[in-house]
């Protein structure tokens, strides 16, 4: 019998424990304190931070913004992703080229993508320039300076960034549907909509679930685009939960309080992950 020494586990265990697990435990502990990051001493204040969260209008706004972005982006990338995937599935030899174009933004850093879109959507940017030129000057608006438009802009950017990824997931799902099922549907006189509705759709339910969960998970943690496009503003009206945590911690020195919000986000994400694991298990049966 070969002996594999436990030492093989040691380096990964040490790095993972020291730099991930210990900080997580630290965040749980800090969430019960009033530490401001500067003074040497701090007090354990029990559940005060968590109680404060209930009355925090700024946090409530961040939660609403996050949910809005999550809802808009998840619905759009999944509906549009599935739609394009079904079209692309019939594109024959061109599949690979088109797939590569749609997927490209997903490999670029979100910061670079945000700057591309900032140049398009800014008041002095490309889009307004085009409108002006085409004599559509009355349509010129500020896509970033007011809250409603800014949130929509953030959604558009995120949809553009992740659409190709979801499209590829759906394409892979669709390609696992056995050809015989479509043939059977044709024999029964089904048209292409009926093929989609009664063959493709039921067969890719696991794929849909995974894709939806992935987009929800990504958007619940949204930060980068907000940072570049609006910096949370105007005021703090476009802050997401992650943005709120980072600003409260590193901008306002409320380390204890921001840790409490982070713990709250942690439980939301864990809950979504548990749902995901359950779904994945079902798929394997």
């Amino acid at each position: 019998m070969l002996k594999r020494t436990k030492l093989y586990l040691a380096p990964a265990f040490v790095v993972y424990t020291l730099l991930l697990i210990v900080p997580i435990l630290g965040a749980f502990y800090l969430s019960f304190t009033d530490w401001n990051g500067i003074s040497a001493s701090f007090h354990v204040v029990g559940l005060k931070n968590y109680v404060d969260m209930l009355g925090d209008a700024r946090l409530r706004n961040a939660i609403v913004v996050t949910l809005k972005i999550t809802l808009i982006v998840s619905v759009t990338v999944n509906v549009l992703g599935l739609f394009i995937a079904t079209l692309l599935n019939r594109a024959g030899r061109m599949i690979n080229v088109l797939r590569s174009i749609f997927f490209l933004p997903y490999v670029i850093s979100t910061v670079a993508i945000s700057f591309i879109w900032l140049s398009i959507l800014s008041y002095t940017g490309v889009l307004n320039g085009i409108l002006e030129m085409e004599g559509l000057g009355h349509l010129v608006t500020d896509y970033i300076g007011n809250t409603d438009n800014a949130i929509k802009s953030i959604c558009v950017i995120e949809i553009w960034r992740t659409l190709g990824f979801h499209m590829v997931l759906y394409l892979a799902s669709i390609q696992t549907v056995p050809e015989e099922l479509y043939e059977a549907c044709t024999m029964d006189g089904g048209n292409s909509w009926q093929k989609f509705r009664y063959v493709t759709l039921p067969m890719i339910v696991p794929g849909i679930t995974i894709s939806v969960i992935m987009s929800v998970m990504t958007e619940m943690k949204q930060y980068d685009i907000v940072k570049v496009i609006t910096n949370g503003g105007p005021g703090y009206s476009t802050e997401t939960i992650t943005y709120n945590i980072v600003t409260q911690a590193f901008g306002n020195n409320m380390l204890g309080y921001s840790s409490a919000i982070a713990v709250f986000l942690f439980f939301i994400i864990v809950a979504i992950t548990l749902v995901q694991l359950k779904v994945m298990k079902k798929k394997e049966i």
């Binding site: 070969l2 594999r4 436990k6 093989y8 586990l9 380096p11 990964a12 265990f13 790095v15 993972y16 730099l19 991930l20 697990i21 210990v22 900080p23 965040a27 800090l30 990051g37 079209l87 019939r90 594109a91 088109l98 590569s100 749609f102 997927f103 490209l104 997903y106 490999v107 670029i108 850093s109 979100t110 910061v111 670079a112 700057f115 591309i116 879109w117 140049s119 398009i120 800014s122 940017g125 490309v126 320039g129 085009i130 030129m133 990824f165 590829v168 997931l169 892979a172 619940m220 943690k221 930060y223 570049v228 992650t242 945590i245 980072v246 590193f250 921001s258 982070a262 994400i269 992950t273």
Partner: protein, 274 residues
């Protein structure tokens, strides 16, 4: 059936229209790198004739900005971060996949836990710890942070993959007198190459593109943090912005075009499994 059906004409028109709209921001970026800023606002869609490299030169000649050192930081973080992470993780996963004991079971779950964590939770304690031991802004420290953040994913992937390969080759090697590390290095690792590719692309790209981690832990000027801070004062000088975007995306886009299949399958299987 080589007949062109009206249906497929509609299909193609629809697809081409969608690709065109989708690719528009990329087109705008590519053509406007080569125009002066006034021309960008007056005719953003025109081709840059003649192309002018002023934007790129002004970025390269800016005394406060060093694209080269940004590349250096990002390359070091990505290569060492992903490399160290994959070495530590595959070693641990080799033990976990082959030794069926209580320790294996407990540690598998322990490593898996990291996959659920929204990473933002670790920044405050991590920055505090780093300040205490004066590791802030230190590249090796930052690399270890990136390593720790990707161990869960890598261990999980390697464990599944190693668990799926038969032990016969390893048994043959034992009879030949090979030690367990030799077996790991000479037999197991070559067999799990596809898995290594997936992990390398998935965690490598996430390290290269990460913004928040190098920003908060010592403001290390990687390519993402670097262009973010460099653009700051020029935020409406679009020519300069496009030049920075080009520097930030070019290396990845070239790699992507050279290995599209690996990138797409690596990133999707990585995301679905992790």
């Amino acid at each position: 059936m080589k007949k062109v059906k009206p249906k497929s004409v509609v299909l193609w028109a629809l697809l081409i229209a969608m690709v065109a709209v989708f690719a528009l921001p990329l087109y705008i970026t590519v053509v406007n790198i080569w125009k002066p800023t006034q021309q960008i606002s007056s005719s953003p869609m025109s081709l840059p004739i003649p192309p002018i490299a002023d934007n790129i030169m002004s970025v390269l000649n800016d005394p406060n900005v060093s694209i080269l050192s940004m590349y250096r930081n990002s390359v070091l973080i990505t290569v060492f971060g992903a490399g160290i992470c994959m070495f530590l993780s595959s070693l641990a996963a080799y033990y976990l996949a082959r030794e069926k004991n209580r320790l294996s079971k407990v540690l598998s779950l322990y490593f898996l836990f990291g996959l659920m964590v929204p990473y933002v939770i670790v920044y405050v304690p991590l920055v505090t710890m780093f300040n205490k031991v004066h590791l802030t802004g230190n590249l090796p420290g930052l690399i270890l942070v990136f390593v720790s953040g990707s161990i869960s994913f890598s261990v999980f992937m390697y464990q599944g993959f190693i668990g799926g390969i038969s032990e016969e080759l390893e048994e043959a090697a034992i009879i030949d007198g090979a030690g367990s590390f030799t077996i790991y290095a000479r037999i197991v690792m070559p067999l799990v190459k596809p898995c290594t590719t997936t992990i390398a692309i998935f965690i490598g790209l996430s390290m290269w593109n990460d913004f928040l981690t190098p920003l908060l832990i010592g403001q290390v000027k990687t390519i993402t943090v670097g262009i973010y801070t460099a653009i700051g004062p020029y935020a409406s000088d679009w020519g300069t912005v496009f030049a920075y975007v080009m520097f930030a995306t070019l290396p990845i886009v070239i790699l992507y075009l050279a290995a599209q299949k690996q990138f797409i399958s690596g990133l999707t299987t990585g995301a679905v499994k992790g």
